[in-house]
Every structure is written in structure tokens, then in C-alpha cells.
């Protein structure tokens, strides 16, 4: 029974939502909206599990004095600080401290991590330029043509390059992406079917 009931829930819920796609009636729309809202709410409860795991791992590192255990204190302090600043007694989500932490800690860190991509894409390109096979050479050439398409120093060659790059982006690029997307679509549908029919049940673990 411990496995049968969840499998039944998966089947009924899956079938219901699949059928909902074909039913335009307002009742069906309401149910779809409810289910979407429910998933978000359940996700918030699940976040409590995540925070508990985070605290447990950090506390364990501090207790065992593992390598770099001091930084776990920083992580826990950041966690506690942000939760406290969000409390209504300190002004809530609109409080100066909560917004300041968001604007001066999270946003700069997010933007800087994102900007590291510039360096990583350069390092990836340098490694990829050491093409060891015909396929890698094709990839490299295609990347070079597209990268140089807006280069102002190439003169008349630049116009030809821009045309070829434009054709590559609009034609073979479109074709290959379509083939990949069709394959992905089939894979998603197959996996969804396996989940609904109970063939795929790894996510339920063991008794």
C-alpha cells in the first residue's frame, strides 16, 4: 500500500492534467489555475526542508571543524540575518535592511557571477580552438564566422562574412535545432508517459 497509493495518485493526477489540455471549459481552467497555485504553495513548504538540510550540513561542518568550517558560520550568519530582516518587527520585506542586503549583496554577486561568463567563454573557445577532429573543426569554423560577423575591421570580407553568418544562423541552425527539439519532445512525452503509467518510479525511492 505504501507504493500503491502514490502510484495511483500519480496516475490520476497525470491523467487529469493531460485531459485538462483538451477541455476549454471554464471549470477546467479553474482546476488548472488551482493546481498551479497549489504547486507553488507546496514548494514553499518544501523550502523549509531545504533550509533544514542547509543548516544541518553547515552545523555539522562547524561541529566537526572540517576544512573551511569558519565560512559555514558566514553562511549561517547570512541566512539568519536575512530571515530576521524580513520579520515585520524589523520592517518586513520592504525594510531598509532587507532591501539593502538584496541590492548590495545579492544583486552585485549575481551580476558578477554572470559576468564571469565572459572569461569562461573565452577560455572555452581557446580550448576548443585546438580542434582534434573534423567535427571539432566544423564547430570552430562556424563559431568563428558568427563571432566575426559584426567586426568593423574586416572591410568587404566583413560583409560576406555577415551574410554567411546570417544564413548559418537562419538555416542550418534552424534545421538542427528543430531536429533536437523534436527528439526532446518525444523524450519528454515518453518519460511523462512512463511516469504516469508507473513504469518510471525511481523518484519514489524504496520502502
Amino acid at each position: 500500500m505504501k507504493r500503491e497509493i502514490p502510484l495511483m495518485i500519480v496516475f490520476v493526477a497525470g491523467l487529469f492534467m493531460a485531459v485538462q489540455f483538451f477541455v476549454p471549459h471554464a471549470t477546467s481552467e479553474y482546476i488548472y489555475e488551482f493546481v498551479m497555485e497549489w504547486t507553488i504553495i507546496i514548494g514553499i513548504f518544501a523550502l523549509a526542508l531545504g533550509i533544514w538540510s542547509f543548516i544541518k550540513v553547515a552545523a555539522s561542518k562547524i561541529q566537526r571543524r572540517s576544512e573551511n568550517w569558519q565560512y559555514s558560520i558566514v553562511a549561517l550568519a547570512g541566512l539568519a540575518g536575512m530571515i530576521i530582516f524580513a520579520l515585520p518587527w524589523f520592517g518586513g520585506l520592504e525594510s531598509y535592511m532587507f532591501r539593502s542586503f538584496f541590492n548590495n549583496v545579492m544583486i552585485p554577486l549575481h551580476a558578477t557571477m554572470f559576468s564571469l561568463l565572459a572569461f569562461f567563454i573565452a577560455s572555452a573557445a581557446f580550448r576548443a580552438f585546438r580542434a582534434h577532429s573534423a567535427l571539432a573543426t566544423v564547430l570552430l569554423l562556424s563559431a568563428l564566422i558568427v563571432m566575426l560577423r559584426f567586426n568593423p575591421y574586416m572591410g568587404p570580407l566583413g560583409d560576406i562574412d555577415a551574410d554567411i553568418a546570417s544564413w548559418i544562423l537562419n538555416v542550418p541552425n534552424l534545421a538542427a535545432k528543430r531536429a533536437i527539439i523534436i527528439g526532446i519532445g518525444l523524450g519528454i512525452v515518453a518519460t511523462a508517459l512512463k511516469v504516469i503509467l508507473g513504469i518510471e518510479r525511481t523518484y519514489m525511492g524504496k520502502d
Binding site: 504553495i41 523550502l47 547570512g78 539593502s100 549583496v105 564547430l139 562556424s142 537562419n170 531536429a179 512525452v189
Partner: protein, 269 residues
């Protein structure tokens, strides 16, 4: 090594304090502690930026500090936002007058179906109990089942049927007798030659790409040749995507450098 670390840390602290003082003085006085705090926050943001960038050189205490702070603050941010906005702001006003009053939010009206997600949420939290953990699968099953059911027809339409119908292209474009037969390589070209080449390339590219993804047939003979053409088209695509993204990523770096040079150091206006 420890001495170098101490010296570097001391230099960083001194620079931090100098920057704090300078930035505090650039914020107009308003009789409160705000300029003081604002100066600290701008300096802190700049130092966190540099700490993350130092990762490119090697792992170091500043990066570790910034990373751990970021992880802790972001986890709490998501939790706080989710709790106060979704649960207190949207859920409690729809299920309980008492809870709404306690949290100081106006009660809307009772909607019975909103009682179900907190029940499922609590069932999920039973995961923490050694004996009651099995019941958490019910909530998992609900989430996984509903999304599988949602995805099945929708992806079949968007990633399958619509992709197929978009590939119904006339391979031999009707000769219109006007405009150049040969023209530039853009998709908007009016030349029939380019239109024919484009349509044939798309047709063959999609077909051979699909053949490459066949799992249950050996890639030999004609099938193998088509598969080989397919992977070549895929490689061209991957190279094009890679090249296309480079400029976008560089612009992210420009954005960050602008913050450092303009907002923090004031070198550029």
C-alpha cells in the same frame, strides 16, 4: 603563506575603510545614519564584486567569504519571500481569519480548495520523521504526476507537431520571373536560388538530424551517411550558437566594470 594572507587581509581592510569614508562623504547628510550605512553598502558591494572576480586567479579566503555569504543570504531570501508573499499574503487570507489577524493581513474570503496545498505541504514535511516519512511520497506523487500530465500534450504540440508543420516547405520554389535568381544569403532574399537552397537545407537538416537520434538502428549504409550529415549540421549549429553568445557575455562584463569604475571609484561619468 599565512603571513602573506595576513598582509593582504590587512591591506584589504584598510582600503575598505578608506573607501567607506570616501563613499560616506559623497552621500548628502540628512541627520541620520543613512549616509554612513550607504557608504558601507556601496563599498561592500564593490569588494564582493572583486572577491568573486578573484576566483579567476585562484581560490582564496575572499572568494570563500563572498561565496558562503551569497549562498546563505540567497537561501534565506527565497524562504522569506516565499513565506511572507505567498503563504502570509495569499494563502492565509483565504483559509483562516485567525491566522490573517495574527499576521496582520486583511482576510479576503474563505476558499476551501486552498486548504489542500498546506495539507500536502505538511505531509511533505513528514519526511523529517523517521517513521512517518513514507507518507511524504503522496505529496511528491501529486507534484510529479500533475506535471507529467501537464507536459505530455503540451510538449507534444509545441516540440513535435508545430515543429513538423513548420518544416512543410516547398522544395522547389515557384519561379516568379521577377527579381534576381541569385542574391545575398539572408533568409529574406528574394532570389529563387537562395530560397530553394534554404528550403532544401532545412528539409535535409531536419531529416538527417532526426536520423542521427535513432537509437534502435545501426548507423550503417545510407542510414549511416544520413546520420553523419546530421551530426555535421548539428556541429555547425553548436558552433553558431557558441559564436552568437560571445558578444552577449562580454557585455555582461562591461556592465560590471561600469559599476566598479563609475558607481564605486567615480573614474568615469
Amino acid at each position: 603563506m599565512r603571513r602573506i594572507t595576513l598582509i593582504v587581509t590587512a591591506v584589504v581592510v584598510v582600503l575598505f575603510i578608506i573607501s567607506w569614508i570616501i563613499k560616506t562623504n559623497t552621500v548628502p547628510e540628512d541627520g541620520t545614519f543613512r549616509p554612513f550605512i550607504q557608504g558601507f553598502l556601496v563599498t561592500f558591494a564593490a569588494f564582493l564584486t572583486l572577491a568573486i572576480m578573484s576566483f579567476l586567479y585562484r581560490d582564496n579566503p575572499f572568494y570563500k567569504f563572498a561565496e558562503h555569504l551569497y549562498v546563505g543570504v540567497s537561501a534565506a531570501y527565497a524562504m522569506s519571500l516565499g513565506f511572507w508573499t505567498t503563504l502570509v499574503g495569499n494563502l492565509f487570507p483565504r483559509i483562516s481569519q485567525n491566522l490573517s489577524d495574527w499576521f496582520g493581513v486583511p482576510f479576503l474570503h474563505y476558499e476551501w480548495h486552498f486548504v489542500i496545498p498546506p495539507i500536502l505541504g505538511i505531509i511533505l514535511l513528514m519526511r523529517l520523521s523517521p517513521k512517518g516519512g513514507w507518507i511524504s511520497r503522496w505529496a511528491l506523487a501529486f507534484i510529479v504526476g500533475t506535471t507529467a500530465g501537464l507536459n505530455l500534450p503540451r510538449f507534444l504540440r509545441s516540440d513535435f507537431i508545430e515543429q513538423i508543420s513548420s518544416t512543410f516547405l516547398p522544395l522547389l520554389v515557384q519561379w516568379q520571373g521577377v527579381g534576381p535568381f541569385f542574391s545575398n544569403f539572408s533568409l529574406a532574399a528574394s532570389g529563387q536560388f537562395i530560397a530553394i537552397l534554404t528550403n532544401i537545407t532545412i528539409f535535409l537538416g531536419v531529416l538527417c538530424g532526426l536520423i542521427y537520434f535513432f537509437f534502435s538502428k545501426e548507423h550503417k549504409g545510407v542510414f549511416g551517411t544520413a546520420s553523419r550529415f546530421g551530426i555535421w549540421v548539428l556541429m555547425v549549429t553548436f558552433g553558431a550558437s557558441f559564436g552568437y553568445t560571445v558578444m552577449g557575455r562580454i557585455s555582461l562584463l562591461v556592465g560590471r566594470l561600469t559599476f566598479l569604475l563609475k558607481d564605486w571609484l567615480g573614474i568615469i561619468s
